[in-house]
């Protein structure tokens, strides 16, 4: 019986998929605990805190970030097994990136309920304000007494107050006036396209208007503290779009596509809510404790 080459191919693909699945199942037994997603500042995956308590803490941490720029995040997990809490904690810190990039002013408080262990992971930039000794004191003298009495909310709240007090007395770079420079990208983009289109419509060659508007947009973006590579990219995109419009001829014909650009611009300027970690670095400083 002659087996078609197609059937043979399918057979081998199937074999490969099954063996891949088996290997995956085998390996997943030894998997480390995945780093939980950073959805908000206080992440309670063990049901320890009530939602009112979480809201309270969130408000407090939000205020600190707005006033000082530092980010404190809280994570409560049932266990960090199979790792030690300190190993799990640095993985979380590297993924969540609490604190501002370059300033590294983030702190993460991690509690592993059934392991009865907690850790304060201090960002590189705060190692002067919160040296290991002080972190240990906060744990031993402020947080653990509350935990031992069974009051986890009080422990976490008092601990955060102590950490925030230490951060408050530390001179850190100011938070920039605009909440996020990325808020300007959308409007800048739209205005750039429109101006480029207008210039083309009144007779300027599409290349010239593209270069003019793209260059100005890039310059403005850099002045607004948008990262340089992004500003250049923005300028480039405006330039290319201006070229494209030029070949199509006229502004009026492109009014339909103008709507879709507005949509793309709106998606970027999402100022307000929680934007996650700001890229802060950690090098293993802080302290742990057990109760």
């Amino acid at each position: 019986m002659k087996i078609s080459s197609r059937a043979k191919g399918l057979f081998f693909v199937g074999l490969f998929l099954i063996s891949a699945l088996l290997i995956f199942l085998q390996l997943s037994g030894f998997a480390l605990l995945g780093v939980p997603a950073l959805k908000q500042r206080v992440n309670d995956l063990s049901g320890t805190l009530t939602s009112a308590q979480i809201e309270n803490l969130e408000a407090k941490l939000n205020r600190l970030e707005r006033e000082k720029g530092s980010q404190i995040f809280v994570l409560i997990v049932p266990t960090s097994a199979p790792e030690e809490l300190s190993q799990f904690s640095i993985r979380v810190a590297e993924e969540w990136k609490a604190g501002r990039k370059g300033i590294d002013d983030g702190v993460i408080l991690i509690v592993a309920r059934s392991d009865r262990a907690l850790r304060i992971e201090v960002g590189r930039g705060l190692e002067g304000a919160i040296p290991d000794v002080l972190a240990k004191r906060i744990i031993e003298q402020i947080i653990l007494p509350q935990f031992r009495a069974g009051d986890f909310y009080a422990g976490i709240e008092k601990g955060i107050n102590a950490i925030a007090a230490l951060i408050a007395s530390e001179p850190l770079p100011k938070n920039s006036g605009a909440s996020e420079p990325t808020v300007f990208i959308g409007p800048l983009f739209i205005v750039g396209i429109i101006v480029a289109g207008l210039l083309t419509a009144i007779g300027l060659s599409s290349t010239l208007s593209g270069i003019l508007v793209g260059g100005t947009a890039a310059l403005l973006a850099i002045l607004l503290a948008i990262p340089i590579w992004f500003s250049i990219l923005l300028g480039l995109i405006i330039f290319l779009i201006a070229l494209g419009r030029g070949s199509g001829g006229g502004f009026s014909r492109r009014s339909g596509s103008g709507g879709s650009y507005r949509g793309a611009g709106g998606g970027w300027s999402s100022g307000g809510g929680f934007m996650g970690g700001d890229g802060g670095g950690f090098s293993g400083g802080g302290a742990s404790g057990k109760w």
Binding site: I90, V133, K136, G284
Partner: protein
């Protein structure tokens, strides 16, 4: 004929262009990761004199434990800890061994300290303990990042086509941290009551 020449030129460019810059970046990453490791080991080394003084105040007659820490620390300074260490496999091994001796002697010292409740209650001893724990954690993190950097570099050096570039420019596989006393670790400790 002309297209063949261009093709060969492009091929050469991809070989050197692709591999070379990556190797340079990763090599620099290894160097900076190594400096961080040295930094943290130095930090631990600097904590030791204070620790010894505090312990001596309460447990002066625990002579051999105190001496073993001092000797281990002296041994480390005899191995010149420079950024060049990662290029010399034998010196790297010696350095790693010296550091692990410090680790074990410190462990013994802290275990002995458990027998002295007054020492344990001493505020400066507690502070030193906190600093030591913090430094040990930083050492672990720095070592892990070094291992990661080494892994990336070694993979580039061994993969095709950057292994050609590596050979041409003299990049060699770097030594990695090994688990010391693997045999001892594989035997579970016997607990007796």
């Amino acid at each position: 004929m002309k297209t063949k020449l261009i093709l060969i030129l492009l091929l050469l460019l991809t070989f050197t262009g692709c591999g070379y810059n990556t190797l340079q970046t990763q090599d620099e990453a290894v160097k900076s990761a190594w400096s961080e490791v040295l930094n943290q080991y130095q930090r631990r080394s600097d904590l030791i004199p204070n620790l010894l003084n505090t312990v001596k105040g309460y447990a002066a007659h625990e002579k051999d434990v105190l001496e073993s820490v001092t000797n281990a620390r002296a041994k480390v300074s005899s191995v010149s800890a420079t950024p060049e260490l990662i290029n010399d496999e034998a010196a790297f091994k010696r350095f790693q061994q010296a550091q692990s001796e410090i680790s074990s002697s410190l462990g013994r010292l802290l275990a002995v300290a458990e027998n002295y409740p007054q020492l344990k209650a001493d505020a400066s001893f507690r502070d030193l303990q906190a600093q030591l724990e913090g430094t040990e954690n930083r050492i672990t993190v720095a070592r892990n990042r070094y291992i990661e950097a080494i892994k990336n570099l070694n993979v580039s050096i061994r993969s095709f086509p950057s292994n050609f570039t590596a050979k041409i420019f003299g990049f060699h596989v770097r030594p990695n941290f090994t688990v010391e006393n693997e045999k001892a670790l594989s035997n579970p400790p016997i607990v007796q009551f």
